[in-house]
């Protein structure tokens, strides 16, 4: 009886394992075949492919900044804050108002650097405020609830903020005024890299390095890591857990606000629903990089941006799928599935504390 059960168990394991391996091989095959056909057909020049990568990095930088908020909240509190996309949207919307006011005052194009800094501060402040409000109103009471509860609350909060903005500001799209210093590009390796992309990538890098330094080198950052590791022990060691959690939300919100400004200045059109898809993609990026891991979120964002930008043209068109760019979102989410199939904990793995393991 025992021997039979043992055999059955082993057979069962082999079947699932075999299917997974089959899927992995098929995935690699599809990607390789599609890429090979695309690259060898000479449809696009090398410069064009490089441009795809640059576009992807630019888009990915924005995803990365928003993903940081998701990953930090998950690391500290253990749930996904689905309202974080709306934190991003609120910064973008209010930033639009600020930018348009500055444009009307004539400052926008005459003092671009100062104007951008002002709008950046306003966007970051708004996003931080919304994040803090979320924490105080929606999540604080649910600290000790089972983890599904704050997750559902966050979905509700997300709808609430979306429709609050719809009610307050209406449904039409708001446009950021064009910034003339961002027009133009520099020529590197045969492709044109826009000043706007350089600004986005550069600012995002600065923010990410800043955040990493903050988390790894400062006392508050150490408190954050401690609370993420083990809340109760951290409290016993004298860390003010409440304040640390508030700080987590604030920093996540600030990052989203910065992303909002970069999005606004480059893509220029925002409305009450802008946060939804960005939120989901950023969450995907966070999981892709390893949820709970800050460097993982950055890497995940960049990876997702590149997959999304290069994927349709490289793989889908190569495989002969028509209207490949309509499937851009499919590629983005498939990228997540593929990464998880090969590495279930995400690219840089999840940092599990004992109770979660």
């Amino acid at each position: 009886m025992v021997a039979e059960q043992g055999t059955r168990r082993r057979l069962h394991f082999d079947f699932v394992g075999a299917v997974l391996w089959l899927v992995r091989i098929l995935a690699i095959l599809a990607v390789v075949v599609g890429a090979f056909v695309s690259l060898s057909s000479g449809r696009l020049s090398a410069a064009a492919w490089l441009n795809f990568v640059v576009i992807g990095i630019g888009q990915g930088a924005i995803y990365a900044l928003i993903a940081l908020g998701y990953t930090m909240v998950y690391g500290v509190l253990g749930f996904i804050n689905f309202a974080h996309g709306e934190v991003f949207m609120s910064g973008a919307m209010v930033g639009a108002f600020a930018a348009n006011s500055l444009a009307q005052a004539g400052m926008w194009n005459s003092n671009p650097v100062l104007s951008i800094l002002i709008v950046l501060l306003i966007a970051m402040a708004t996003s931080t405020l919304v994040a803090l409000l979320l924490e105080r109103v929606a999540y604080r009471r649910l600290r000790n609830a089972p983890r599904l509860i704050p997750l559902i609350t966050s979905i509700g909060a997300s709808f609430f903020i979306q429709y609050a903005f719809l009610g307050l500001f209406g449904s039409q799209t708001r446009t950021y005024p064009a910034l003339s210093i961002l027009d133009g590009f520099i020529r590197v390796a045969g492709i044109n890299i826009r000043y706007a992309d350089i600004m986005v990538i550069g600012s995002a890098l600065v923010m990410m390095v800043g955040l990493y330094t903050f988390v790894e080198r400062t006392k508050a950052g150490r408190a954050l890591r401690a609370v993420a590791e083990d809340k109760e022990m951290a409290a016993l060691m004298g860390v003010n857990v409440n304040r640390t959690i508030v700080l987590t939300f604030a920093v996540g919100g600030a990052m989203a606000g910065a992303a909002a400004l970069l999005f606004g200045v480059v893509f220029r059109t925002v409305f009450f629903f802008s946060g939804f898809l960005f939120g989901i993609k950023a969450f995907t990026a966070a999981v892709l990089g390893g949820i709970g891991n800050i460097v993982g979120a950055m890497l995940g964002g960049l990876t997702l941006g590149i997959f999304e930008s290069v994927g349709p043209s490289l793989v889908l068109t190569g495989l002969g799928i028509p209207s490949a760019h309509q499937l851009k979102d499919v590629v983005a989410f498939l990228a997540l599935v593929l990464v998880l199939i090969f590495k279930p904990t995400g690219l840089l793995g999840e940092r599990l504390s004992e109770e979660r393991a």
Binding site: A48, S171, T173, L277, S309, V310, S313, S323
Partner: protein, 461 residues
């Protein structure tokens, strides 16, 4: 062990039955509510006879008296509903149609046969979800006589089915997707109902077969284009229009080097523009909506290979919120030929007085005609029963199907058996001055296509 097995079996049965319920036939209730004297009222959820527009074919509408009727008591209002896009990025497409409807009602003093006219305005959201939600809430009110809408064909598809099953009529002033009525008009083959045709659906806006032909002819002849790229966004209207454009462009000797699509909600158009730059087409035909079109025109400047490509939009972009963007200068649009004449000018004057601005979009006159068509039809069909009005739904449909010689702002209209009532005149407009707004664009006609002459007159009636 046995309990566990039983539970598994039960779960399996439950799941299977859910599958069957979900994937099975939508279920047409065959309960009719015919009363001998035709004074019964149809209530929500009841579908009428089984000859409702379920299967495409060349069937003509069914006869009298089997859809029930609406009884409007003394002093009660005649309720008509509208499903228009009045919020979101495409709100300009619906708002001026609602305004046009209200002017049509005001022209009659707000009254029809002694009863006040009440407009139940719903938001179609330019999406299938919006259209079906709006339609459901309208058919839940058994006193609604007819619907004016939708703005977008994407919302029109589910709305048309829902209202048809409830016995209503719907007249759209701006749906143009060919899938909502029939094809082909511009060839000798007989007309066939398309997949989303439903009985009781009418429109005063052109069928996009005409717009595709007009745009393709303009591109090939006036612009001298040999290659084209088309972009749609998955919506029935955009897909239909790019399909028609592609057919006629290819038939005229041109080549559609890439027929591709974006998603509604996409913000980064640079990858797709990079792909298109490699092909360097003469024309980029993008009959999509805002804000995706905004992103394309804003980002196309970064691709020097596309500097000589002529951008062509369609009637979804003929709105004030799009043409004022400086990047749209030089862009060409296909759309319905605008009305003219003294009646139209009177209408525009009334519009400006009521709304404060000139009409912001291209279908206001069509919507006004649709509203008048519906109100005239109700007036003709309604029977007075003392102080009450009885409106037979089937008679209302039949009246509209038989309608000929209707003098509207957009021309003399006649409805054929598939609901196409429009005068299919297409105009091509160019935006030479973004600061002049939509009024400037609609006034700057660079081409026309009066394709009605090429159609067998039987098809149009």
């Amino acid at each position: 062990m046995r309990i566990k097995k039983g539970l598994k079996l039960l779960t399996l049965v439950a799941v299977l039955s859910l599958f069957i319920a979900a994937c099975g036939d939508g279920g047409t209730d065959s309960t009719t509510t015919t009363g001998a004297d035709g004074v019964t009222t149809t209530t929500a959820g009841d579908t009428a006879t089984t000859t409702e527009g379920e299967d495409p074919g060349t069937t003509a509408p069914s006869g009298e008296g089997d859809l029930g009727s609406v009884t409007i008591g003394a002093g009660e209002p005649v309720i008509i509903a509208s499903i228009q896009t009045i919020s979101g990025g495409t709100a300009s497409l619906g708002q001026d149609q609602v305004d046009a409807i209200e002017i049509a009602i005001a022209d009659r003093g707000g009254e029809l046969l002694g009863h006040p006219i009440e407009l139940q305005s719903e938001d179609g959201l330019c999406s299938a979800d919006g259209g079906s939600t709006a339609a459901e809430s309208i058919v839940a009110n058994p006193q609604v006589v007819g619907i004016l809408g939708t703005s977008c064909s994407g919302a029109g598809v589910p709305a048309s089915q829902i209202m048809s099953e409830a016995g209503l009529v719907m007249i759209s002033g701006s749906n143009t997707s060919p899938s909502l009525t029939a094809l082909p008009y511009l060839s000798d083959e007989p007309l066939e109902a398309q997949e989303n045709w439903n009985e009781g659906y009418f429109r005063t806006a052109h069928n996009d077969e005409f717009q595709g032909a007009g745009a393709a002819t303009f591109a090939a002849e006036d612009l001298g284009a040999a290659t084209a790229v088309t972009i749609h966004d998955g919506d029935p209207y955009t897909e239909g229009l790019t399909g028609q454009f592609g057919e006629f462009f290819t038939a005229g000797g041109g080549e559609v080097v890439l027929a591709t699509a974006v998603n509604k909600g996409d913000t980064d158009m640079r990858p797709i523009l990079q792909e298109i730059e490699a092909l360097a087409p003469d024309v980029l035909f993008m009959p999509i909506f805002q804000p995706e079109a905004d992103f394309i025109v804003q980002q196309i400047g970064e691709f020097p290979g596309l500097a000589d490509t002529q951008l062509m939009g369609a009637d979804g972009l003929l709105s004030d919120t799009f043409v004022v963007l400086p990047e749209t200068e030089g862009m060409v649009f296909s759309g319905p030929a605008q009305a003219s004449g003294s009646a139209y000018e009177d209408f525009v004057a009334k519009y400006e007085e009521a709304v404060g601005t000139p009409p912001i979009q291209a279908f206001h006159a069509h919507s006004y005609d649709a509203a008048n068509m519906l109100l005239d039809a109700i007036e003709a069909v309604a029977q007075e029963d003392g102080d009450s009005l009885v409106i037979d739904r089937a008679a209302l449909r039949q009246y509209l199907y038989d309608l000929e010689g209707f003098e509207g702002l957009t021309g003399t209209l006649a409805c054929n058996e598939f609901g196409d009532c429009a005068n299919p005149a297409i105009g091509i407009f160019r935006n030479d001055d973004p600061s002049a707004g939509i009024v400037g664009v609609l006034g700057n006609v660079v081409g026309t296509a009066a394709l009605a002459d090429q159609v067998d007159p039987d098809k149009l009636n």
